[in-house]
């Protein structure tokens, strides 16, 4: 389940770009960082991102149209994952909470809703930025 096929060249490059960034990147941000590796078009990035998301190696942050490398590639399986996104420094914390997941599952069961993807994102200001008095 946690196993996935060898990554292709493009997928590897995109994942490395996200790993190095330590923060979310937009698809076009990734593209810019991979110009020297021969990337020319957005689709090269989007296609790699699609696969990486399927493998669980990358997450998409819906609220900011950006992507991050998964911080615990094998720590959680296909659980519901929540993100805390600092709008000041861009830092993203990833966590999961069984109780939250269970409550959402209850609603879904009660309403016979067939979930495909669950998004939980908290945007705000992280402790560090608050401490140093961010604008």
């Amino acid at each position: 389940m946690t196993a996935h096929p060898e990554l292709t060249r493009n997928q590897t490059l995109v994942l490395k770009a996200l790993d190095r960034a330590e923060g979310p990147l937009s698809a076009y941000g990734i593209l810019d960082r991979l110009r020297d590796d021969g990337f020319r078009a957005p689709l090269q990035v989007y296609r790699a991102l699609e696969k990486l998301q399927q493998f669980g190696l990358v997450h998409r942050l819906e609220s900011i149209n950006a992507f991050v490398a998964c911080c615990q590639p094998h720590g959680h399986r296909h659980e519901t994952i929540a993100f805390a996104i600092c709008s000041h420094c861009g830092r993203v914390d990833e966590f999961s909470d069984a109780a939250v997941e269970e409550r959402l599952n209850e609603w879904v069961r009660a309403h016979r809703f067939k979930p495909a993807k669950t998004t939980i994102e908290i945007s705000g200001e992280c402790a560090d930025c608050t401490a140093r008095g961010a604008g």
Copy 2:
């Protein structure tokens, strides 16, 4: 708290368009429906939407870049609201769960994160669409 100033003409038109739609609309979808009312540019829509969101009359669905009229304008205050979005018929169900909110608040407190906005969206297929065997 639930009171808000009189809506302007543009705000009223945008809200009515969303009410009539019974489903999420993109900003450009709203624009198209308001051509006959004199709307010409996206900004007219976005400006109205911004205010309506502040008043709590409209929600933005981050995962599909669309907007819906709030189904219970005064039922919940500024609670965390969750959405179940059917990707087949577009239906959106809005709900809130105190336990979910409490668990997220606990994480936030523990990490001294100052939340600004919380997004919870479950995309998938609603009961009706599943029943009639949607593609």
